[in-house]
Subunit: 560 residues, 2 copies
């Protein structure tokens, strides 16, 4: 090492080389399981501004290597993924969350600002490192302020090292998002205003980062002759007569979507990285934060004379946002040749029953059952309400609206910074769970402040998959509703909807040492306080890396 | 103190109270001079986004307490100014520079990100504290990225405790700026693009944060019946028959301005906080970073039947930007009653001679002479060029374009972080000056990359006033041009223009321990590397406060 010191001090490039070497040394020191799985799956990302025009409107986006969506991470289960993120935003910080990855043994790599790390400052390089221990479809996105909505998101595809309970000849990804022409700063102003200013409906729905616009403005898709090539829609090329796996995920800032492919039924086979007892749908509802794999069968050769619409429609809100459109392109047709039909209209926006039916239909595959413990040690009921706090509209759980602290919870709790209690009165948003205990969470919906309105909330838990025990309508009844729990073949997920005026019951084992956010995945609701934080086994968390420090009360924790 | 600990740990409000108490203890420990001067001049600022519409276009600005310009600091010479800045930007950092304040003994309060401090993170509160040791007109503004252009600036008025060499019956401030509808992020993208995208001319010129728009769009000011009251212009109320002091400053992002008041001659009496041998002008040229005090005589009572135009016109560039207009409002006229005349057309944009004449005319007041040393110990010639570096358009001094390091120079040099040499090869932008030595700087202009174009550069030095020894045309000749230096009554300033194809010679004593930026005050040129850094007496700098640490290699320097 003595020889290293001088050059290391001379140039950034040498500094980087050194860091990579350190990293390799660190990786080689990983538990043997990961080592056995072998490969380090490395990515070098630069987070920077870039203009993008997915729907023909030029917007300054936050991009990864210039792209929206960012680059897909292709990995194999058991691999160690290393993502070296350099913040090239000029004056703005960033943090990236690996949505659905449980971060077993690496809670500091969860990427949740104010929960697991300080945001990455401009000019800094932060190295995320974690094992993708389970095959499936996952995602990543910014987890700081409302940056997600400005385009910093993408997919993580973890291939199975084992045989899966279905087969297919090719696989493709479809990331869904909604898109505002206003940026995160403007949204923050609106949402913090008195009187309250709601951000409104998104301008577009994007399919794999693209919207559809007709070359002749104002023409309906069904009558359109040619798409606007300046912002041409996503076109997915398929061969006829095949079974194809689509990995579909939703990272909307607000919207619940119904995804549908004209004349192509979908068989659901995976949800949030867990195998599903297959069932067929015409349209697939996706709540922000969810992923599904579906299989489609493409028409045999004689029917391949045309393309088909793919549609992502906003549901659960009466939205002015036009449906996102993309093209299923049969091989040898021109990729942007428009289908000769009107795009499917999709389900009615407020058909809640249809959505609940799908939620209930998602069950664990019979050959991959991992039944839950029969009983829980603790039940936490979280009443979801919109309310006014100090004159401002906020979202709350049990009337506590979370103000994210400037000292991340993980560090505060691990290092016993009692200061941290400031943001969390004893009745507050921090729940300390007994390690290895079984915890039930009942999400209970309610009215918003607008009479006779109850919204859909997509809830996402970090650090865990949970069993989905059941959904119900009205007020949860502890005496009777627990009897209806599915304890036989509940699906495990990391994201789940809470339907209007309904309840959703979850169960998980608090066996992952760390501090984990549990929140509504609507960016604006999270910003307005709709989150709680779970701590479990903090004493078993290993030494925190210096790289997550540097904000709030953690500044003195960076060691020379 | 023992009793303090527990409540301090319980609430932010208590934490703040504690900080203020600490501050007072610190202030009470200041050198006796400041203590004698007495008062602590305290300000509590919240930096946050806000929509503003100074020219009827709604833009998201970075504001102080919601305002653009920010609140004026009114102080008396000798006072200690304390500004407690809380960063309420959601994901963005900030730093504020006190332009013209020499920060004697407090180099860490200069507010220059990457030179004297790490930027203030969201949620953090930073306390700037410095003595305003000299009466005069000063300013403040963001010194991080290109945030200045998004509205974070204001004035500092330091009243004399002594008798001044002129008298007046009232005083008023007029802060000039230019205004882009695009924001700093968009500018950063443009300026970093390949091929290069220039930001273009500003959309408006603002006088005291306001532009003029006629209520009937498209109508010339002279024909306009009524201003648009949604973005009504600045109106300055004066009484007839008085002598009035106007403190005028320019914090444009790009533009050189000519300021003029219809039918009112101005007598220049102060420049950058130094008394000027009075001279009269019809129009006053201001380069970004400059301040002047002028005296005007208002008409006697019989002539007070109308208002008059105030005009700020872009010069030194052939600009598409309409001149900024405001109203000199004679008492008892309606404030927004428009003058019955066309606004003065102002000087021709490329009358360089007229501008040089004014530069030369600014001399020290005969009763306040502080002549420079006859000789210097060192001469630094800085050739100002635009050039391409690694495919990107940059601005350079002696072909070195400064990449601001992520570890502030002050900390790196004080703490002997040899790493810091990384960003500054030996030929680079850091100049280490012998303490107390006399330094001459010759700014030498040249062609830009566009043939036959040479731009005006407003140069600003932190931590010092310098003597302005002279201006010349063409290539500086060390043998002959030094003979033309004004060593008798040169004005002292902190900001000075370098005229097209010309040179400007400065002299200063390197007697202020610290590290000081010297740069072109055009935001875009500074962003593109047009800066150097002077270090002097680093060994005499006192212990650096923890509060400036926390970025780059300084993270481990925050003490528990």
């Amino acid at each position: 090492m003595g020889n290293m010191v001088k050059p290391f001090l001379q140039g950034r490039r040498l500094l980087e080389t050194f860091l990579v070497l350190c990293l390799l040394v660190y990786v080689m020191d990983l538990p043997s399981a990961a080592k056995a799985a072998g490969k380090v799956n490395k990515h070098v990302w630069d987070v920077r501004y870039n203009y993008v025009s997915p729907d023909c409107y030029k917007k300054l986006a936050i991009t990864i290597n210039g792209l929206v969506p960012g680059p897909t991470i292709h990995a194999v289960e058991g691999e160690t993924v290393v993502v070296q993120v350099t913040n090239s935003l000029v004056t703005e910080n960033v943090a990236i969350h690996w949505h659905g990855i449980r971060q077993i043994g690496t809670p500091w790599s969860d990427g949740t600002e104010s929960v697991t790390q300080c945001a990455i400052q401009p000019g800094d390089t932060f190295v995320y490192q974690f094992v993708v221990d389970k095959a499936g479809t996952y995602m990543y996105h910014a987890h700081y302020g409302m940056q997600l909505g400005d385009g910093i998101y993408g997919m993580i595809r973890v291939k199975a090292a084992h045989k899966e309970p279905f087969s297919y000849s090719s696989e493709h990804e479809i990331l869904l998002s909604d898109w505002y022409h206003k940026n995160a700063y403007e949204h923050a102003i609106d949402l913090s205003s008195e009187p309250f200013v709601w951000v409104g409906e998104p301008n577009s729905v994007l399919i794999q980062g693209r919207a559809f616009a007709c070359n002749e403005p104002g023409t309906e898709a069904g009558q359109c002759k040619e798409p606007n090539r300046k912002c041409s829609p996503f076109s997915l090329n398929v061969r006829p007569g095949r079974t194809i796996r689509l990995r579909i995920g939703s990272l909307t800032a607000l919207s619940t979507l119904s995804f549908e492919i004209e004349d192509h039924e979908m068989t659901v086979v995976e949800a949030d990285g867990n195998y599903v007892e297959p069932f067929k749908v015409k349209h697939l509802y996706l709540y922000s934060g969810e992923t599904y794999s579906v299989l489609i069968k493409t028409s045999p050769k004689k029917d391949r004379s045309r393309n088909y619409w793919m549609v992502a429609k906003v549901v659960s809100r009466e939205s002015s946002t036009p449906s996102g459109l993309a093209i299923l392109n049969y091989n040898f047709n021109p990729p942007l040749a428009l289908p000769p039909t009107d795009p499917p209209a999709g389900p009615h926006w407020n058909d809640t029953s249809d959505r609940i039916d799908q939620s209930v239909a998602v069950k664990a595959h019979h050959a991959y059952l991992n039944p839950p413990p029969k009983k829980s040690d603790r039940t936490i009921i979280l009443l979801n309400t919109q309310n006014k706090i100090e004159g401002k509209v906020r979202w709350s759980l049990n009337n506590v609206s979370l103000n994210l602290p400037h000292t991340p919870y993980l560090i505060a709790l691990k290092e016993n910074l009692s200061y941290n209690t400031e943001a969390h009165p004893s009745t507050g948003g921090l729940y300390r769970l007994k390690f290895n205990s079984i915890v039930d969470v009942i999400l209970q919906n309610a009215n918003t402040m607008t009479p006779n309105v109850s919204e859909t909330h997509p809830w996402h838990l970090h650090g865990h998959d949970f069993w989905v025990l059941g959904y119900g309508r009205g007020k949860f009844n502890m005496a009777t509703d627990t009897a209806s729990y599915n304890l036989t073949n509940p699906i495990m997920k990391n994201s789940v909807p809470l339907h209007p005026y309904g309840w959703t019951a979850l169960r998980f084992r608090a066996d992952n040492p760390g501090v984990w956010a549990f929140h509504c995945h609507i960016e604006f609701h999270f910003f307005l306080g709709m989150a709680v934080v779970f701590e479990e086994g903090i004493d078993q968390v290993g030494e925190l890396p210096d790289s997550i420090m540097g904000c709030g009360e953690t500044k003195p924790f960076v060691k020379p």
